[in-house]
């Protein structure tokens, strides 16, 4: 008996509607701003097309801002990355009580998000010129943090060194959070297999654990770099814009000061978008490699 078949009609599904708010939000606050940024960066103040804004990026102030921002981000990414990694290793593999791990992870979760105005003020209140720790050091130990020799110079919270110190406060906890899953992914059997074949603890870390963690480590540090590069509120609150870094220069250009040139600000922001895009791309590539290894 022959059978006739009609293609089954697919029932319409509306589950995609759930993603609409996200799409609208993304269009309004990401796609459109980037579009206006791109367009604005190629226009002069009268709206005429120009490349001058990009040529101006090579002038002293924007170039110094990029140099300072890259320097600040690099230093805090490397120091925060290494410090955070060591803490994560100690907490996860150090056979410490579970409570300590929970406490460190909770602190990291809070501290990595504790940036901006509150963080800057917290540092002013502790190591500012009249801060609690500054006064304590002076009164109890007779050490004047802001006057005495501090790493070969006098200390100032409102300098690049001060920014590094403050940024590290949210950089290393972020590293702990990002790198913890990778360290957790190191399988006990790898260490045992290495030991079984005669490897010392050092040889295990050198030949097995560190190479496995390297993509995650570099990826995490790159993310830290991006995190510092984009931070604006902390630096602004702390230095009132006296330090020349990209986010502060952009805000100065767009908000309007003596140099007021929003279109140059757009070009600066485009440079920043580009750097962040490269950061995310490299992070993604390294993360993929690490996941492939840890999954195998």
């Amino acid at each position: 008996m022959s059978q006739t078949s009609t293609p089954a009609r697919r029932r319409p599904t509306f589950s995609w509607l759930g993603v609409v708010p996200f799409l609208l939000f993304t269009i309004a606050f990401l796609i459109l701003p980037i579009f206006f940024l791109v367009v604005g960066s190629f226009q002069d103040s009268q709206g005429n097309p120009t490349l001058q804004n990009y040529l101006d990026l090579t002038t002293e102030q924007p170039a110094t801002a990029y140099k300072n921002s890259i320097q600040l981000s690099l230093i805090t990414a490397v120091i925060g990355g290494i410090f955070g990694f060591l803490i994560a290793v100690a907490v996860i593999l150090g056979r410490l009580p579970r409570a300590i791990r929970s406490a460190v992870m909770t602190f990291s979760g809070v501290a990595s998000n504790f940036a901006g105005v509150p963080l800057a003020l917290a540092f002013v209140f502790t190591v500012g010129q009249l801060g609690l720790v500054t006064k304590l050091l002076a009164d109890v130990f007779g050490y004047h943090l802001w006057r005495d020799d501090f790493f070969g110079g006098s200390f100032s919270l409102y300098s690049m060194l001060g920014l590094v110190l403050v940024y590290l406060y949210f950089q290393f906890p972020l590293m702990v959070l990002i790198v913890a899953p990778a360290i957790d992914g190191l399988r006990k059997e790898w260490r045992e297999a290495a030991e079984n074949m005669g490897a010392s603890s050092f040889q295990y870390w050198r030949h097995v654990a560190l190479p496995i963690l390297l993509p995650s480590l570099l990826g995490s540090m790159i993310l830290l770099f991006g995190n510092a590069f984009g931070a604006q509120a902390t630096a602004y609150q702390l230095t009132s814009g006296t330090i020349n870094i990209v986010p502060l220069v952009i805000s100065a250009q767009i908000r309007g000061d003596v140099l007021h040139n929003p279109n140059l600000g757009y070009a600066l922001a485009m440079g920043m978008v580009l750097i962040m895009a490269v950061v995310i791309l490299i992070y993604g590539l390294l993360q993929r490699r690490s996941e492939r290894w840890l999954r195998a």
Binding site: E189, A193, E195, M197, H207, I212, R292
Partner: protein, 365 residues
């Protein structure tokens, strides 16, 4: 002469005793399997030999030297892990050569040994591939080569085939045995798969709840189980409730029908006993003269490929399972039909209910 000796080994984790009073002497080149259910202490014992766990008491001696407290990286013992544990950042060749590399052997020597071992495991073309590019079976072969590369005195395998599918498991276990014979390396193999243990080993250590139940050749373990646990864990088994009629003449009743066994019975008439009877000892039909015969109805028929397993219901809800070899001319009885089954008098192992040890000499072979 004993090459690997474990004497009075005990291991406790807090108040939990994982291994108790474990004694074993393995000769050089012997293949010994630890067989038992999960949590019986077999892996813990293996890990104590490897050095990853320290015994609470007892000694481990390897080739005359006490290694009980020697760190794992100073023992010269190779180990294959259940999860392969290949280093994901290294190629197959680098994995295999790792043990030699940390021993700072010259590069050409490492290269030569790696090539040799990849030939041995039939993967010479995979040298430059990474573990994630290999199948599970290939990864486990690489893990085996890696464990053998530095010429260990003992090879330990911790359920190495349990993550593989059935066909690969069978072929790989034959390969493992062939390689072990070829190299003549003393091997300790942990498994919960009785077929694997019986087919691979020179001797099997059956373990339960941290204790050794029996140590013997696969033949002894299967045919002369020393305890009720061994009898039930190794192979399929009918545990039939029986009542003693006359101990002297070996007469008992099973499901209300009288049978005779040749094993010694140490119980007075009327006592409840338990008979352990392998399904392959039971035949369809009345069997030769002198066989025990039981009448019942067919409860179900399972077609298992090479064999057909039937379950026969006797009176008092007693069920007897029996295996028949499959052949095209085999006529299978219908479920519910009446049937007679038979088994020889020397087939069953007699065990008193609740006792750990059997009468010990029941010949089922």
């Amino acid at each position: 002469m004993s090459f690997l000796t474990l004497t009075n080994i005990q291991k406790s984790f807090g108040t939990m005793v994982a291994v108790e009073d474990f004694n074993l002497s393995a000769t050089k080149g012997e293949f010994v399997s630890f067989l038992g259910p999960s949590g019986c202490g077999k892996t813990t014992t293996l890990r104590m030999i490897a050095g990853f766990e320290t015994p609470t008491s007892g000694t481990i001696v390897l080739d005359g030297g006490d290694i009980t407290y020697r760190p794992p990286n100073k023992r010269n013992i190779g180990m294959v892990f259940q999860s392969y544990a290949l280093f994901p950042n290294m190629t197959v060749a680098q994995n295999v050569g790792f043990g030699l590399r940390v021993r700072k052997r010259p590069a050409d020597q490492i290269q030569k040994r790696v090539t040799e071992l990849l030939e041995l495991i039939h993967l010479p073309d995979k040298a430059n591939q990474f573990p994630y590019q290999l199948s599970g079976g290939q990864q486990q072969r690489v893990a085996l080569a890696r464990a053998l590369a530095f010429e260990p005195e003992v090879l330990l395998l911790d359920e190495p085939l349990s993550a593989l599918d059935a066909k690969i498991r069978v072929s790989l276990r034959q390969e493992i045995r062939a390689i072990q014979r070829q190299l003549g390396i003393t091997t300790v193999y942990v498994t919960h798969d009785q077929e694997e243990a019986l087919s691979l080993s020179d001797r099997v250590v059956v373990m339960s709840r941290g204790r050794v139940e029996q140590i013997g050749t696969p033949f002894e373990i299967y045919n002369f189980p020393a305890t009720r646990f061994v009898a039930s864990f190794v192979g399929q088994l009918n545990a039939l409730p029986a009542t003693v009629v006359d101990a002297g003449s070996g007469r008992l009743t099973v499901g209300g029908q009288e049978i005779r066994v040749s094993a010694r019975i140490d119980a007075p008439a009327g006592s409840a006993m338990s008979l352990a009877l392998r399904p392959e000892m039971v035949s369809l039909g009345e069997g030769p003269e002198g066989s025990n015969r039981l009448a019942g109805t067919v409860a179900d028929v399972d077609f298992l490929g090479a064999i057909v397993r039937m379950r026969i219901r006797l009176a008092d809800a007693v069920i007897v399972a029996l295996d028949v070899f499959n052949e095209p001319t085999l006529k299978l009885p219908a479920v519910g039909s009446s049937i007679t089954i038979s088994f020889p008098a020397d087939g069953p192992l007699v065990m008193a209910p609740g006792s750990e040890a059997g009468s010990g000499t029941s010949a089922a072979a």
